[in-house]
Symmetry: C2
Subunit: 358 residues, 2 copies
């Protein structure tokens, strides 16, 4: 099965560990390898390296090549980031170009999957349905009224002869308010949007042609120059003209063609903040729910996440629900429950022209 | 006036800035110069450098000499720390030896004095009374029921002809419980013990002879070798035998001779913890009562003390009453109100054999 890994994120939420030149997907935020490597590795039962393509920013190409040295994974470098719609379109034209007309899976590079077999099972089912000519997304059964995720509404109405564990999507929803998120949980007909979906390149490109015609024209122009010397100049010029738009918003929310969703039990997390890393590592916490890595001294703390990777001893005394992340060049100390706001630090650094710390 | 500066403290409460090899008195915790330098400088109107003696640990002698390069201040190095009674006795025998029989002031090296003129006025008054043959301590009018200080109880009974602003001491009290400290404030007949006192060497040594006879014998032995080649060996052997005892507990609390106390309004603080540094620097705080020094980014914090001297940016987000002290080798993050407990970090480091961080 052909796999497109979307690794274009800029990763501001894991500052100071993540930086402009090494965003989250290239770090081993959780697990033994950088997240993009973990993402590729867990697909091994379904895809050989030759069937994996990573779409990423030009600035990160050399470090990605270094990470996958000796492996036959292909890279598609975007000259500038324009959100997921262009990245997915680029992946689709490339898949066609190399002769893959069957269903492709599109997967974010920087998510955590606690139970890879659950993901692989769903991808196999999705491939089957996509083969019949539909886009199939993977949905996660929500466990809390999360306001940081998109949601997928589904309908249980399906013909009697239906045997696949998939449902019709009735709506894609952006990040909701807390009130709405609570309603979604109570209603029970919403999944979290995992950002993972499967479809044939022809169908993906047809959807783009219909709902994002400018993007489609640009992609066709790029397609004509694939494998030529002019490719780099063309992609640069074309990307400059693209709007920044997500595939969910630009296509999925608008399409009138049937989209299906498969509920996927795979221990999924988008690892969106230090707080979610803390939750994923709960099992490694001490009896007072503190997580500590690196050289640390923890005294009378509770619910705190302490990471010392700056080569310095970190001593914590009497902290509650704190986040302490030390690196060689910068240190973050925050209320753990406000780790979503770490981007405010970056905004301030940008305003203060601390370019070297971004 | 002859001055003995007691600079023997080990300073564990300002970790990670203070360390075994650079205790608090040798750091500029507050003010422009190291505390021991500030202490000597503020005495200038009363004492020439030749009249100042600093009693300190052998291990700190070379850095102290470096600090006072070019000045005629004398140093007495103790081979091991045995609390204040031996240090004060050593100062007294040295003062005698160099021909000073008049009143000497003994002052801790690591206190903050916001109003030096108040201190100098009191020292002049104390000298006058000490000349008449008494020990005179300086008391601080307490502003809160502090449990971290010793207290001095005084009596307002004094003869009609008395014109000096001094009172008879009726008791020296160790650090009290909070309940007792509150009673002291309400009663109004207690001062904080500043640790500063004045007396002639003869009287100091007579008191030591009476209440700490072993110490007295050792000091006499040291006295006999002052200025000889054998001095270093003798002081080393003698100190080994000394008990570790404070002058307050060993002499002041026991003496039946009259001791006087002068209330001293000099903006005094013993600067006993990071919390007290924070209080002293209140005027430099932002509108949310945050103090920040070095390269810091402070977002939505309150009542926090942030010091970045490790050459690294420190970003704080959503902290309440936190203490963040970053140095090159170690970082402390603590509840500001528990800064008295920083010594627990040191105990743990000692147990874990992190000698290089002590």
């Amino acid at each position: 099965m052909f796999m497109i890994i979307m690794a274009g994120g800029s990763g501001t939420r894991f500052w100071p560990v993540s930086r402009r030149n090494r965003p989250k997907q290239f770090l081993n935020i959780i697990g033994n390898y950088p997240m993009v490597v973990e993402t590729c590795n867990r697909l091994r039962p379904l895809a050989r390296d030759e069937e994996i393509v990573i779409v990423l920013g030009q600035d990160h190409l050399s470090q990605a090549k270094e990470l996958f040295k000796g492996r036959k994974i292909h890279f598609l470098a975007e000259p500038i980031g324009r959100n997921t719609a262009p990245a997915i379109g680029l992946g689709a034209i490339y898949a066609s170009y190399v002769g893959n007309e069957g269903p492709i899976a599109f997967l974010p590079a920087d998510h955590f999957i606690g139970k890879p077999s659950g993901l692989l099972d769903c991808l196999r089912q999705a491939e089957e349905i996509a083969n019949a000519g539909a886009i199939v997304t993977l949905g996660i059964v929500p466990s809390r009224p999360e306001t940081g995720y998109g949601y997928i509404q589904w309908s249980a109405d399906r013909p009697d002869f239906w045997t696949l564990p998939a449902y019709r999507v009735t709506a894609f929803t952006e990040k909701p308010s807390l009130e709405k998120a609570k309603q979604y949980i109570v209603r029970g007909d919403y999944f979290w949007n995992s950002g993972i979906f499967v479809g044939t390149p022809a169908l993906i490109l047809k959807q783009i042609e219909e709902y994002l015609p400018n993007l489609y024209l640009g992609l066709k122009k790029i397609e004509r120059h694939l494998g030529t010397d002019a490719f780099e100049n063309v992609i640069e010029a074309v990307y400059e003209e693209f709007d920044s738009v997500s595939f969910d918003r630009g296509v999925m929310e608008k399409t009138k063609d049937p989209v299906f969703v498969i509920p996927c039990d795979c221990g999924w997390s988008d690892v969106g903040s230090w707080a979610s890393v803390y939750e994923l590592r709960e099992g490694e916490c001490d009896k007072d729910r503190n997580f500590a890595e690196g050289e640390c001294v923890i005294i009378d703390c509770e619910g705190s996440f302490v990471s010392s990777k700056g080569g310095r001893l970190v001593a914590c005394l009497g902290l509650n629900n704190c986040l302490v992340v030390d690196t060689e060049e910068a240190l973050l100390v925050a209320d753990r429950k406000r780790s979503q706001e770490v981007r405010r630090v970056i905004e301030l650094l940008r305003r203060n022209r601390k370019e070297n710390l971004l």
